[in-house]
């Protein structure tokens, strides 16, 4: 066995490649990001195609935030105050984030939160 405790241990797998079966949920699509374009426009195609999925993720995060702070004030803070942070971010990231928010229709503060989630999550 690979690991004795805790449970759900496994033998070292073999013959898993090429990926298939229950642990494989699909291939990953390719997109081109043209760095010669203005940052605001770079992600347009990708975001247009994944708009619904991005909205679903943001909704789940909002639901979790509202479960912790039922008054909804935490999301209000994200929507109202977090965008103030955008201008302090370096280029081209701030312009790209702005473009993603505009194309996806997700509020700017929520897209920004997703992009700085690593720093925020360590709380």
């Amino acid at each position: 066995l690979a690991q004795y405790v805790p449970p759900y241990t496994d033998y070292c797998r073999t013959g898993m490649y090429p990926p298939s079966g229950a642990t494989f949920k699909g291939n990953v699509s390719w997109y081109t990001i043209n760095l010669d374009l203005p940052p605001y426009k770079r992600w347009n195609q990708l975001i247009s195609e994944r708009k619904a999925e991005l909205n679903n993720l943001i909704q789940v995060i909002k639901d979790l935030a509202n479960a912790f702070v039922p008054s909804g004030k935490l999301i209000q803070l994200v929507d109202k105050d977090l965008p103030l942070l955008l201008d302090s971010l370096p280029s081209p990231f701030k312009e790209e984030i702005k473009g993603i928010a505009d194309v996806s229709g997700v509020p700017l503060g929520e897209v920004l939160l997703f992009n700085i989630f690593y720093e925020v999550f360590t709380v």
Binding site: A2, Q3, V5, P6, P7, Y8, T9, D10, Y11, C12, R13, T14, G15, M16, Y17, P19, A22, T23, F24, K25, G26, N27, V28, S29, W30, Y31, T32, I33, N34, L35, D36, W43, L46, I47, E49, R50, E53, L54, N56, L57, V60, I61, D63, L64, L85, L89, P90, F93, I100, V106, V111, F114, N115, I116, Y118, E119, V120, F121, T122, V123
Partner: protein, 253 residues
């Protein structure tokens, strides 16, 4: 997360990772899954960043996320990042940023900047170990020459440790989960031991992208937080990624 860089018997370097994210972010009792992890999977995308119609770097990312966590600069280096938990965490850097002290760099912006601008493995290593950051992290870096593979353990201010491939000492791979290498992992979250056991069983003679995928498919290296597996071959400039699932029985982390 689990990231590794391995060198085969001919000196060829491979780099691979499982990206695990969403711990404690909404457990779905009915489906036995993490809510955020489930919603991240459909957002996974491979991205080819080009200038003048030529590839600058390639990466596996999430739609809507402009920073990078997994990438390759073909023929030059490969890079992944794993989360490092520390009391001196990102929230302090974030607070400092809000208060106007802005000499640090956001983690995922640094990795993207390195992928875009670094001109060699050594340049990337230098930038990743010396740039002041807002949050601690592990950077796993692979190069294109024998011995070029390392794990950079970062605090917010500097590099704490650099652990490198050393063939003379029999260290033909370096592997990182989410714990400092000189400390034992949390006993409830030991992915390092099974991953290393499987790597050692595979042996250097048989290491390849295929066998590394086997290692990353072994539970609990593969777990309910795993969103994708990326495999990279720097010399061929190849990056392939697969969306993952971990049906029961499977560790929640």
């Amino acid at each position: 997360c689990t990231s590794l860089v391995a060198e085969d018997s001919t000196g060829k370097l491979y780099h691979a990772r499982n990206l695990d994210f969403g711990l404690f972010l909404g457990w779905d009792i009915k489906n036995k899954s993490w809510a955020v992890t489930e919603q991240l999977r459909p957002l996974v995308a491979n991205v080819d960043f080009q200038k003048n119609n030529k590839t600058v770097f390639k990466a596996t990312s999430f739609a809507g996320y402009v920073g990078m966590l997994t990438g390759i600069k073909p023929g030059m280096f490969t890079l992944t990042m794993n989360e490092r938990f520390s009391l001196d965490g990102g929230y302090i850097g974030l607070l400092e940023w809000i208060l106007g002290r802005r000499d640090g760099v956001w983690m995922s912006f640094l990795t993207r900047s390195v992928l875009e601008n670094a001109t060699s493995y050594d340049d990337a290593k230098n930038q990743l170990s010396k740039t002041k950051m807002l949050a601690p992290a592990y950077f796993i870096l692979g190069g294109n020459k024998s011995g070029q593979g390392c794990i950079i353990t970062r605090s917010r201010l500097s590099s704490v440790d650099i652990w490198e491939i050393d063939l003379k000492k029999g260290r033909w791979y370096v592997l990182e989960t989410n714990y400092d290498r000189w400390k034992d992992p949390l006993f409830l979250d030991d992915r390092r031991t099974p991953a290393m056991k499987c790597m050692n069983e595979t042996t250097q003679a048989k290491i390849s992208l295929e066998t590394i995928y086997d290692v990353l498919s072994t539970k609990p290296v593969l777990n309910k937080l795993t969103t994708y597996t990326t495999l990279m071959d720097v010399s061929e400039g190849k990056l392939e990624a697969y969306i993952r699932d971990c049906p029961d029985p499977c560790m929640p982390w």
